[in-house]
């Protein structure tokens, strides 16, 4: 049923020329696109164009000889890809080594971040004295400037003067050799678990309290409630959280770069450092781009499979 409000413009429109209405309609249709335009432009400028340029660069022998004039770079075809994927040769072997180190680093870092984040968020659900203070303290690593925090860790990991050896009563190297990998994992977990804590805590807020009350009346204990209510209800949150943490950690450049400098020990040489060295230290931008494209492909495949699997599971549940 038309209302007075609906009538008014209709009456007015009846007397107005048709093109005006058409213009208004067009404007209404165009408005959302106009509002999206800045974001689309920025997305193009910041992500897509550089990504395409990177892809193009990977097919050229872009070294110091051609850096001044991109167009003079000799075409490499698939040579850059063949070179880094030849796992019998030095470059391929070291790239593969970095890949496996990065996989292990990601699994451990994401796993521990999730475990600590979830445990802390669940514990913080209960109201107790000092909860606010504790929550704030938990978020400190995430709030600190990354550079300052990681450089402080590098001081603490020094063999002779560092706090870590002092506290553990050991005399070990932490910034070189085998232990350097574990130092990297510790710093990464310390830095990222508050993010997991924050996200899981937000997810927990959305679980209705009545479910726990009903479960308690039915005699379910804390662990049963966690298994039957908390975990399933948190699944959508966890799916996003794990994907984001995976992508961040696999591409992590800042932590190893600040902790070890431009040349990380081979035991902690993540793939991002490897690509940086090829591109900016040894000036082989074509090769660096090829590695970046391969990394991007790998992350796309993993993300797509992950999203497909989680969607199928969600549909199956529905």
């Amino acid at each position: 049923m038309p209302t007075a409000l609906d009538d008014a413009p209709a009456v007015k429109a009846a007397g107005a020329p048709k093109p005006q209405r058409a213009r208004r309609n067009r404007r209404r249709v165009a408005l959302p696109y106009l509002l999206l335009l800045p974001a689309i432009l920025l997305e193009l400028l910041v992500h897509l164009i550089p990504m395409i340029a990177g892809l193009v660069m990977s097919f050229f022998k872009l070294t110091q000889f051609a850096i001044r004039d991109f167009s003079s770079a000799p075409a490499a075809g698939l040579d850059n890809y063949k070179f880094v994927l030849d796992f019998d040769a030095a470059a391929g072997k070291s790239l593969l080594g970095s890949f496996w180190i990065t996989v292990l680093y990601t699994v451990l870092s994401v796993g521990f971040c999730w475990l600590f984040g979830t445990s802390a968020a669940v514990l913080m659900q209960k109201n107790f004295r000092g909860r606010g203070l504790l929550r704030t303290l938990f978020l400190v690593p995430y709030a600190l400037p990354m550079y300052a925090a990681v450089i402080t860790w590098s001081f603490m990991f020094q063999k002779d003067t560092g706090l870590v050896n002092d506290l553990l009563g050991t005399d070990s190297f932490w910034l070189i050799g085998d232990n350097s990998f574990w130092s990297l994992v510790v710093v990464s977990v310390w830095r990222n678990w508050p993010f997991a804590f924050l996200i899981v805590m937000a997810g927990l807020q959305n679980i209705p309290g009545e479910l726990y009350e009903a479960a308690a009346i039915d005699g379910a204990g804390w662990w049963r409630q966690f298994q039957a209510i908390t975990q399933p209800m948190l699944r959508p949150v966890n799916q996003v959280l794990l994907l984001v943490l995976f992508l961040w950690t696999f591409n992590d450049f800042n932590t190893p770069y600040v902790l070890f400098g431009a040349s990380a020990p081979k035991e902690a040489s993540l793939i991002s450092i490897h690509i940086y060295q090829s591109s900016f230290v040894t000036w082989n931008f074509g090769l660096g781009s090829a590695m970046s494209v391969l990394l991007l492909l790998f992350l796309l495949i993993v993300s797509t499979v992950y999203l497909g699997l989680t969607a199928r599971r969600r549909n199956a549940v529905v």
Binding site: P50, N251, G261, A262
Partner: protein, 437 residues
């Protein structure tokens, strides 16, 4: 870095550089000429550099009417800034480059070649120290700059520890150094014969070059093909690593020394008796060392020279001054270079920074007549060799230096580093350099 940011980061960095790099100076003929100068960080801080350089730039402006806009760039950023400027074509007019980058940067074609005419404009080729001039680009090609600040390696030693151990003079041969080092190593007291920046990639590569020359190594063929894994190179790296591994005169903790400060402090505090470094009396003074206890001598040579071994005790270190090819004011840029390499400026600036003049006529200044400076001066003039002047020099430094850093880490962890392992690592470096060439 997050998803897909690494490949685009290359382009982003370049694009950002196009907008942030300072453009060349004013070009209109009526307006007063203006140059942009990127100075490397030589002093104790960027501000200290500005304080040192600005009065000199003012002096130049007064004499020539050419204004110079100064930006001091930290070492960590300098190479990437230069690369970005090279790519965008929008760089400064005049800039400092580390002289080991000369041949690599020369290959980009972004710099004004200092041919005979350009060299004549800045005072003539014969004024410059030969070794310093040799480190300005590949031989047979016009240099890519002129030397501005000279540096060389020497062996610093703690006179007090030497005298306590009954050693009367610094070692002249490696055999003596190891022998003295053993006398001076007392791990229970936290005292070691020699301190090394074993976790520093560039330092390791410098020592590989020096010892490599002593063993007769040529890291590249005349055609520029890498041959790092030759017998003399392996022997040189083995000798260097053995200072910690076999001779045990270096604290294994030095494997994580990634900067000079710790080694300087070790020598100053009596925790190390010797340290090989570029001229750094000023730094020793800054950390409170009694300079009366500080001695310096050339880096040792082998008692018996290996076949084809060269009498090299340092690489030609230092800073060059280059002109960006895209400058709109090449004449003004050359005038400014001429001013900076003039004898009075050379004396003043090198005195302030503790480096060595690169022109003969500046050495008459009393500041360069001290015993320490004379040691470095003699090394630079008589027993210094430029790093390999090939376009792949930066790859060479990174790959050999990183490999040696890993070797020291292994030694510190008790894993043996033998000739086969060294050869394998150097072979890998050869393959990687060849791929980038």
């Amino acid at each position: 870095m997050r998803i897909g940011k690494i490949a685009p980061a290359l382009v982003l960095a370049l694009a950002a550089a196009a907008t942030t790099a300072c453009g060349g100076g004013d070009t209109s003929s009526s307006a007063p000429k203006e140059l942009v100068y990127w100075a490397s960080n030589q002093g104790t801080s960027l501000d200290n550099d500005k304080a040192v350089l600005q009065p000199e730039l003012d002096k130049f402006e007064k004499a020539s009417g050419i204004k110079v806009k100064l930006e001091v760039v930290p070492w960590t950023d300098l190479l990437n800034r230069i690369l970005a400027a090279t790519t965008s074509g929008k760089g400064p007019d005049v800039l400092n480059i580390g002289n080991t980058w000369s041949a690599s940067l020369q290959a980009t074609g972004a710099f004004l070649p200092f041919d005979d005419a350009a060299l004549e404009k800045v005072g003539g080729k014969s004024r410059f120290l030969g070794p310093s001039l040799a480190a300005t680009g590949a031989s047979g090609q016009p240099p890519v700059g002129v030397p501005l600040y000279g540096q060389a390696y020497g062996l610093y030693y703690n006179k007090k520890l030497f005298s306590e151990a009954g050693i009367t003079k610094p070692p002249a041969t490696w055999e003596e150094l190891v022998e003295d080092g053993k006398k001076l190593t007392k791990p229970d007291k936290g005292q070691w014969g020699l301190s090394l920046q074993a976790g520093q990639v560039t330092e390791n590569s410098h020592h590989a070059a020096i010892l490599g020359a002593q063993h007769g190594a040529q890291f590249f063929t005349a055609e520029g093909k890498p041959q790092l894994a030759s017998d003399p190179s392996v022997a040189a790296v083995q000798q260097f690593v053995d200072l910690m591994q076999k001779d045990k005169i270096v604290n294994p903790a030095n494997a994580e020394y990634a900067d000079t400060a710790k080694s300087l402090k070790d020598l100053s505090d009596g925790k190390a008796a010797m340290f090989m470094n570029q001229a750094s009396a000023g730094s020793f003074k800054n950390i409170g060392m009694d300079l009366a206890n500080l001695g310096v001598a050339p880096i040792p040579l082998p008692a018996t020279a290996p076949p084809n071994g060269r009498k090299v005790t340092s690489f030609v270190a230092g800073i060059n001054m280059s002109v960006f090819k895209n400058t709109k004011n090449p004449d003004a840029a050359l005038d400014f270079v001429k001013f900076m390499v003039s004898a009075p400026e050379q004396a003043l600036l090198n005195k302030t920074y503790g480096s060595l003049p690169t022109v003969q006529d500046a050495y008459s200044d009393a500041a360069f007549q001290t015993e320490d400076v004379k040691v470095f001066q003699s090394v630079l003039a008589n027993s210094a060799e430029p790093m390999p002047q090939v376009p792949q020099e930066s790859q060479f430094e990174t790959l050999i230096g990183t490999a040696m850093k890993g070797m020291f880490a292994d030694v510190a962890a008790g894993k043996p580093v033998d000739g086969a392992k060294i050869r394998d690592q150097l072979n890998q470096a050869d393959q990687q350099i060849a791929a980038g060439g």
